[in-house]
């Protein structure tokens, strides 16, 4: 009997091993473990054994059945796995074929820089003010200490619409409007981004239309030192943490003193290169303390109030930052250009 059991175990194991489908395996299972299986027959035969033999052989039969069950389970898993493997293989694709072209949009570089600068100033407590592009001579010039016969008007030859209206030549009229609107003369910290126009023939470095951001602070305390600190902060945020600035005397009718602001060259770190014309410095913007005539024109008491203003050309910042060689690229909208930003 023992021999028979061993022999059956071997046979069953062989049969299981040969199964390649779940159906075959189920047939083998029925053959060895089913109601009509040979093990069942042996169990029937147990009745004829002695009381000593019964438990021993019974245990052997159960062990043999458990072993076969385990083998069947293992074989089943194996068959399942093979089936899945075959399926996966069948479903395998050429992953090197190109993906679907999902269009990626791009903001214009000028917008990106404006938003960047806006975010810096907003973080410093400034609000953003906008105003019309068709502006009166009064707001664009006269209230900015540029009376009709002022020689500096020639510096910015303008597009006129009537004798008294023109395309604004800077965003400064927005400052005037903001000063006038601030009737309680509360502390004012604003920036004015926008499109401006000058009567220049378009060439590599000139554009009859361009963008500016100006900042204005007017309160009872804003100092030249505050202006300098603000300028350094902007320069670092725009051109990198290691940047330094220097101020040089300049002249704008609406500020006094007025300065040009240079940033240490970010290409050569101040050593001197073609970008900075060997000086180590690059001019980035103009600034100054608000001229009292501007504050007075807006109804401010200049014994009490003072402030500073700064203004920069966005195109210039973009061209410097990315080494763009021609300002006209910014308005050509060649999508191969626009897609790089």
């Amino acid at each position: 009997m023992e021999n028979k059991l061993k022999q059956m175990a071997v046979l069953a194991s062989d049969a299981i091993e040969k199964c390649n489908t779940i159906n075959e395996l189920m047939d083998v299972k029925a053959l060895y473990l089913g109601k009509k299986s040979e093990f069942n027959a042996i169990m029937q035969d147990l009745k004829g054994l002695s009381d000593e033999e019964k438990p021993r052989i019974g245990k052997m039969v159960n062990e043999a059945k458990q072993a076969i069950s385990a083998l069947i389970e293992e074989r089943k898993n194996h068959i399942d796995r093979e089936k899945i493997d075959a399926l996966l293989k069948e479903q395998t694709i050429d992953i090197t074929l190109p993906g679907k072209k999902i269009a990626v949009g791009h903001k214009h570089i000028l917008t990106k820089i404006i938003e960047e600068i806006e975010d810096i100033f907003v973080g410093l407590g400034y609000t953003i003010k906008e105003g019309p592009e068709v502006e009166s001579d009064k707001y664009n010039f006269e209230m900015l200490n540029l009376p009709k016969d002022h020689p500096a008007r020639e510096m910015q030859d303008s597009f006129y619409i009537t004798e008294e209206t023109l395309l604004r030549t800077h965003t400064s009229p927005v400052q005037v409007r903001s000063l006038l609107a601030n009737t309680n003369q509360e502390p004012l910290k604003i920036i004015c981004p926008g499109v401006v126009y000058r009567k220049d023939d378009d060439d590599q470095t000139h554009s009859h239309q361009f963008m500016q951001i100006e900042a204005l602070v007017v309160d009872e305390k804003a100092t030249l030192a505050d202006l300098k600190g603000t300028l350094l902060l902007i320069a670092k945020k725009l051109f990198g943490e290691n940047r330094e600035i220097r101020l040089r005397p300049s002249y704008f009718p609406f500020t006094e003193p007025s300065v040009e602001v240079d940033v240490s060259c970010f290409k050569c770190n101040g050593v001197g290169c073609s970008m900075c014309k060997q000086t180590g410095w690059i001019e980035i913007l103009g600034a100054g303390m608000v001229n009292n005539n501007v504050l007075k024109a807006a109804g401010y008491d200049t014994d009490k109030y003072q402030g500073f203003a700064l203004g920069m050309g966005i195109e210039r910042i973009a061209m410097l930052k990315y080494g763009i060689e021609d300002i006209r690229h910014l308005y050509m909208n060649d999508l191969r250009f626009n897609s790089q930003f």
């Binding site: 910290k189 603000t230 005397p249 003072q306 308005y331 050509m332």
Partner: protein
């Protein structure tokens, strides 16, 4: 302003370091445009021509033996005026002349030549000698072997300053010297003019009939000999960018450069009287100016007259009738100050900008008028054999009282944020040579006439620039304010981000366009805004619409084989008394495609419409409608275009370009949209963000297919359905549109209706009831027929 370093050195005990000057001017005064050698040639040498004989094989060449100090050179020279015993300028081999012309040893027609005898033209300074015949011949005192540039006072450097409008004082060498002295903390010394005068009475009398001349001096000068100026004077003029003419003209220019005071010389014998009358010009008066042009005058011009006829256009140009010429013997020399604005207008109108008019425009130190005149007289005595006839005649309306400005230490510190000491400020005023008094901690500064100033802010600028901007500390404003974007600005960013997320490129195009482009998409005729003084016809009008510019961008990119163009722009458009910010976008080509998978459909109207609907959803705007325009939209396909409305208000339009328009530009399937941003902002701002709990109960879907007449729009069908059931109907979606050939003039529409309750699970029965009602209404209202 071009500044001769040699000239500037004259005011100081020690020679200046030009490179240091550049640094100082840049940081403390005015931007330096350049520092250059007046003649940038190394190695020129004075030669003595020992002999000059005709070249045996060339008629026009001479073989010269030239002593250059350390050797004798054989040089072939082609100049007609070369001769033995001349002192000449020699460029030996190895020297490079302007134009990268390198002198080398060479054989000329068989005879060796070891250099070149130079003309001034070859040295790039032709202006130095106006009647040059060939090579330049130096004086007999020139020593062979020495530097000819030094001999001619041309061994100079030129510092060029870019002047800002507030620094007219730097239009004179003396002004530059004052600023140099302040920056370097050194003391300048200035020559006091010494005039030897004849004791005879000056017969000239000067009158004025205008407020536009503050001061006028006229000096009669006799016995003038017109000739060339000395080398030093010529070279200084050349360094200053002024061409030497003759001694009289050169001296007036020289004095102008020294003092910033323009002078004018009349030929006294050509003036018809002893009377000089300064007055405003009369309308339609005329004068022929020195350049021979007849100039029509206006009331705003100022003229110098002999009592009758104009003899000069004041401050701008002299009259031809009193011009100095080679035979002039008596000169009336004018030194005057005229109204700067009048001069500017006249010079601008007649296009006669000059060194003198620009000085009058920018402002002159009116207290130096006489001194400048005296200096010119002194030079004329010395270099034109002149005799000065008595004291100058004049009138002078200058207020002798000088202006003062008050500045307290408190104010200085409050404005700059730097804790200046009184001592610092005193030292700076001394360096600037500003006279001041002190009253407590307050400075009362007498403003020098050479530096006009308006307020204490100007004084602060002077103090800070001389002290150094690098000394100003760093801080940021202390007043707390709340920063941020307003709702409109946030919405604008949201819109831009939306388009970028949808694969669009943002463009920036010009506001100024042609007249045609400006009004191309106007539904009704609206006036355009025209520029009075445009640069070109291409940029003459302010645009009403951004779309023509976007079409140009499309054309530009198509020409460069960029096929898929999805672009948008936000910009102002311009109407009478109104600027409208608009959003425009354009679609052309394919979006989100995969060629090898066969997904390569060109975008169509419904893609465009989908973008608009998605944008509105992003902005939380729900109460909008889309309808065909009541009147045709210009340049759009009448059957493939629509308007977007909020209530009864049109927000904008969208659709395909008119086929004729597409044809004109060689384009196909171009879709455009333009919306008024203000209306989007306002509508978006009204939308509150609200929350409704999502239903816990499952929805029930029902499909419905109907036949309707072709003219019935999808919108009408959906409206009928929605009207029938408002409570349970959650959504209606059209999922098929089909034109059945067997059903004439009819189309089949398949709809998917979703029903949902928020308080219970719906039963199939109640949904079926609703569907029946809907079918009844569709039949009744649209004559729809159920498709089985």
């Amino acid at each position: 302003m071009k500044v001769s370093i040699n000239w500037l050195n004259q005011y100081f005990a020690e020679k200046l370091d030009p490179k240091d000057l550049v640094k100082k001017f840049n940081l403390m005064s005015q931007e330096v445009a350049g520092l250059e050698k007046l003649v940038d040639i190394d190695g020129l040498i004075i030669g003595h021509v020992k002999s000059a004989v005709k070249h045996p094989d060339a008629d026009k060449l001479k073989v010269c033996m030239v002593d250059v100090g350390d050797e004798e050179l054989q040089i072939i020279c082609g100049a007609p005026n070369v001769d033995a015993n001349q002192k000449v300028i020699v460029a030996r081999s190895g020297v490079t002349l302007p134009g990268d012309f390198k002198i080398k040893k060479a054989k000329i027609r068989g005879i060796e030549s070891n250099g070149m005898i130079c003309s001034l033209a070859e040295l790039g300074i032709q202006a130095f000698d106006s009647n040059e015949l060939g090579i330049f011949v130096l004086g007999e005192d020139a020593l062979p072997g020495e530097d000819p540039l030094k001999y001619l006072n041309l061994d100079d450097q030129v510092l060029e300053l870019d002047l800002t409008a507030n620094r007219a004082d730097l239009l004179s060498l003396r002004g530059v010297a004052y600023d140099t002295a302040a920056m370097l903390n050194i003391i300048p010394s200035f020559h006091e003019p010494q005039v030897i005068r004849e004791t005879t009475e000056n017969p000239v009398s000067i009158f004025t009939q205008t407020k536009n001349c503050q001061v006028y001096y006229g000096q009669l000068i006799e016995n003038i000999t017109i000739k060339q100026s000395p080398y030093w004077l010529k070279s200084r003029l050349i360094a200053s960018g002024i061409r030497p003419i003759n001694n009289v003209v050169d001296i007036t220019n020289y004095v102008m450069l020294e003092y910033g005071q323009p002078l004018h010389a009349f030929d006294y014998d050509k003036i018809n009287s002893d009377r000089i009358l300064v007055r405003d010009a009369m309308d339609q008066e005329e004068i022929i100016t020195l350049d021979g042009e007849k100039r029509g005058l206006l009331k705003g011009d100022i003229v110098i007259t002999d009592g009758e006829r104009p003899i000069a256009l004041a401050g701008v140009m002299g009259g031809l009738n009193t011009e100095i010429d080679a035979s002039s013997r008596r000169v009336l020399l004018e030194s005057a100050v005229f109204n700067s604005i009048k001069i500017r207008k006249t010079a601008l109108r007649l296009n006669l900008k000059s060194e003198s008019s620009s000085r009058f425009e920018k402002g002159i130190d009116a207290r130096k008028t006489l001194e400048a005149l005296n200096y010119a007289s002194e030079l004329l005595v010395r270099y034109a054999d002149a005799i000065i006839v008595g004291k100058p005649s004049f009138f002078n309306t200058i207020n002798p009282k000088k202006k003062t400005i008050t500045l307290s230490m408190d104010k200085l510190i409050k404005v700059t944020g730097l804790k200046f000491e009184e001592d610092d400020v005193e030292k700076i005023f001394n360096r600037l040579r500003f006279d001041f008094k002190k009253k407590g901690d307050t400075f009362i500064v007498t403003i020098p006439s050479r530096r006009p100033m308006e307020s204490y802010q100007d004084l602060i600028e002077e103090i800070v620039r001389i002290h150094g901007y690098n000394m100003i500390p760093l801080s940021i404003p202390v007043t707390p304010t709340q920063g941020g974007l307003n709702k409109k600005q946030k919405t604008k960013r949201l819109i831009r981000n939306f388009f970028v997320g949808k694969g669009f490129y943002e463009t920036k195009t010009y506001s100024l366009v042609t007249e045609e482009m400006a009004r191309k998409y106007d539904k009704e005729t609206l006036p355009t805004i025209k520029i009075l003084n445009p640069l070109t016809k291409e940029r003459e009008y302010l645009r009403h619409s951004i779309i023509p510019s976007l079409i140009n961008v499309l054309i530009y990119n198509k020409a460069r084989k960029i096929e898929d163009v999805f672009i948008f722009e936000t910009a102002n458009t311009y109407f009478k008394n109104d600027e409208q910010e608009k959003l425009a976008f354009l679609l052309n080509g394919k979006s989100d495609y995969s060629l090898w998978q066969g997904l390569d459909k060109e975008i169509d109207f419904y893609h465009l419409k989908g973008v608009i609907e998605a944008l509105l959803e992003q902005l939380k705007i729900t109460n909008y409608s889309i309808r065909a325009s009541l009147s045709p939209l210009p340049n759009l396909h009448p059957g493939i275009s629509a308007e977007l409305l909020f209530g009864e208000e049109v927000v904008g339009f969208f659709g395909r370009l008119h086929p004729e328009e597409e044809h004109r530009f060689g384009l196909k399937d171009v879709y455009v949209c333009e919306l008024e941003l203000k209306k989007l902002y306002e509508s978006s701002e009204k939308q509150e963000m609200t929350y409704v709990e999502v239903s816990k109960y499952p929805p029930i879907e029902r499909d419905l297919a109907i036949y309707v007449a072709n003219e019935i729009s999808a919108h009408e069908i959906i409206e009928v359905i929605k009207k029938t059931n408002k409570k349970l109907l959650n959504s209606v979606e059209i999922f098929d549109v089909y034109y059945d050939q067997n059903k004439e003039n009819k189309k089949s529409i398949a709809l998917r209706l979703e029903f949902l309750s928020y308080d219970r699970t719906l039963e199939a029965r109640e949904v079926d009831e609703q569907i029946s009602k809907i079918i009844v209404n569709l039949k009744k209202e649209l004559n729809a027929e159920l498709r089985s």
